[in-house]
């Protein structure tokens, strides 16, 4: 087990390093002088030179790269050009609202998707099953930013029951986190629950349980346990998707958060901030994948054995 975790950890470190390098060089390829971009066009040449010097942009690329790597090791992701603040502080400040949005949406999606998936699977081929599957298809095809706009029109402008601009208060969370973003997460969760439940209920151990005449709720518990592993993997893997969705939803509902931070940074061509947000989110994404891997190898010993023999 320790060996398994160690190998995964090494692998993740390698990928994070590769990613950071890639981001660093991709963002340095851009033509134009950031120092000149930051100052008004009428700024004297001395001011541009001074700024370039203070940003360390006069150094050769490989020295900038080494400094960048040193920074990462010290938990320093550079300073935002525009806001003149450390990128890590900006990220820390914008993390809670995104976290709140993401967790609420994920929970709402799971609460709706898992029972529906089980219902569809246990009445396979019925009209209800077809209906639920078409519902998933409809959700999958809905552009969520548009759905958010429509909700704002209906619930904020016409009915005036919910705020259009979402703060961190519970009422502001209803439209983005309970009505809009879950729609994007629902289809995959639902489909996976359904197909895994169907698969699990055909397994030998379930047939044995049925033959032994165990009560239905116990059989349900056994089946659910088998569904749990693929579902957890999926939820871990959906994090990246969740982040993209959260970004759009934050924009639509004017919520503060990592997404808004990133969009603002892109719009202002604030490269250090873009770089920091990308490295941070990718890092979180990889760590979540790592945790997912470890969790399910705890839940399902078969995976552990496979890893050990591989």
């Amino acid at each position: 087990m320790a060996k398994f975790i160690l190998r995964r950890l090494l692998n993740t470190t390698f990928v994070v390093l590769g990613l950071s390098t890639l981001v660093f060089f991709v963002l340095r390829v851009i033509p134009g002088d950031p120092a000149a971009l930051l100052l008004p066009p009428t700024a004297p040449k001395e001011a541009v030179d001074a700024l370039r010097l203070s940003l360390g942009l006069d150094q050769p690329l490989y020295i900038q790269y080494v400094r960048f790597l040193q920074g990462i090791l010290h938990g320093d992701l550079g300073n935002s050009y525009r806001l003149k603040l450390p990128a890590t502080a900006l990220i820390a400040q914008n993390l809670p609202p995104t976290f709140q949005l993401a967790i609420t949406s994920l929970l709402v999606a799971i609460i709706i998707a898992v029972p529906l998936g089980i219902l569809a699977a246990s009445r396979r081929g019925s009209a209800l099953d077809v209906f639920i599957q078409n519902l998933a298809l409809l959700c999958q095809s809905t552009p969520i930013f548009w759905l958010g706009l429509v909700f704002i029109q209906v619930f904020a402008v016409k009915l005036r029951v919910l705020p259009a601009i979402s703060g961190t208060k519970l009422r502001g969370l209803v439209m983005p986190a309970m009505m809009t973003l879950p729609v994007a997460l629902l289809p995959v969760l639902l489909k996976t629950t359904r197909s895994e439940y169907v698969k699990a209920s055909q397994e030998d151990f379930i047939r044995t349980a049925q033959a032994l005449g165990l009560p239905r709720w116990r059989i349900l518990v056994y089946t659910l346990r088998a569904v749990l592993v693929p579902l957890i993997t999926l939820i871990g893997m959906q994090f990246g998707y969740l982040l993209g969705g959260a970004m759009i939803v934050e924009y639509v509902f004017a919520r503060p958060g990592i997404g808004s931070l990133a969009i603002g940074a892109v719009a202002a061509r604030d490269f250090p901030l873009v770089q920091a947000v990308v490295i941070f989110t990718s890092g979180v994404f990889l760590i979540i994948n790592l945790i997912t891997d470890i969790t399910y190898s705890f839940l399902d010993p078969r995976i552990r054995y496979q890893e050990a023999s591989a």
Binding site: N11, P143, V266, V277, V278, F285
Partner: protein
């Protein structure tokens, strides 16, 4: 029982045929946009701005779906929007399908070091949350139709590569492939004659599904302002530009979204039945 089955088949096919018709309608409007649209999608007129669609009071038949905040004909812009969606979809899907299939084939067929390198590449690509990846690229490159196509094309190949690699890994030890190898067929010939035909159906299903995804992604990016740039009429930019007028003219918020929803739904449904037909 047989009656129920028949009914089910008809109902299934009915939904499917509707989807086919929708897809066809979108392709036709995309190709023949200049002939089908009643007005130019770029002509502005301050005196006829924010006209309502024909079913509302004051709606005219001259501007069937009304006009936007700059007085441009919404129907014409929607028709040209189909052209943008389908161009981006086709372009991105072609690039990613070719790239992904090629990488998956090489990794699965040759194995060893090539496989290792290509799979690490896939890991790195998967390490980026997809949206972040597109955003970095779109920050560096000036957003235009071509850059969107290329950026989406190079960020979406992973799903093909993984699936195709897994398929090739299991196919390559099968007897007909081994037999071809013993008979002295070159790698290229084995791939072309024996592997590609078997992989094709899988690629087709993935491509159809991805086409739908790309339409949604392009819409989101354009809405965020880092995709297709105004005044080019994309469904996403129409929503972005119409946003200040939504409370005055609600149809500006509804119509582009419905166009997107309907075309994506049709594509996703068709991909589902293709999957059923090919038995994947």
């Amino acid at each position: 029982m047989t009656f129920r089955l028949t009914m089910e088949k008809i109902r299934d096919n009915l939904f499917l045929s509707v989807c086919m018709v929708i897809l066809l309608a979108f392709i036709i409007s995309a190709i023949f946009a200049p002939f089908l649209s009643p007005h130019s999608p770029y002509d502005t007129d301050i005196y006829r701005r924010l006209l309502p669609p024909f079913w509302e009071a004051n709606g005219s038949t001259q501007y069937l779906l009304g006009t936007d905040g700059l007085g441009r004909d919404v129907l014409s812009r929607l028709i040209y929007g189909a052209r943008i969606s389908l161009t981006v979809g086709m372009g991105a899907v072609l690039i990613s399908a070719f790239l992904g299939t090629f990488i998956g084939l090489c990794a699965g067929f040759f194995g060893g070091v090539i496989d290792q390198i290509l799979m690490r590449l896939t890991d790195i690509q998967l390490g980026f949350p997809f949206f972040m990846f597109t955003i970095v690229l779109l920050t560096v490159l000036e957003p235009s139709l071509l850059t969107i196509i290329i950026v989406l094309g190079v960020s979406l190949w992973v799903s093909y590569a993984r699936v195709i690699r897994a398929m090739v890994l299991s196919l390559r030890t099968q007897e007909f492939v081994l037999a071809a190898k013993v008979l002295g067929a070159s790698s290229f010939r084995i791939i072309r004659k024996y592997l590609l035909p078997l992989i094709f159906s899988q690629v087709l299903v993935l491509a159809t599904l991805q086409f739908a995804d790309v339409i949604l992604i392009e819409g989101s990016l354009s809405f965020l302002g880092i995709g297709i740039q105004p005044p080019t009429p994309s469904w996403g930019t129409m929503l972005m530009e119409g946003r200040p007028y939504f409370s005055v003219q609600g149809s500006l918020a509804l119509l582009p979204g419905i166009a997107m929803l309907v075309s994506v739904l049709a594509l996703a449904r068709i991909a589902d039945s293709l999957r059923g037909i090919f038995g994947i």
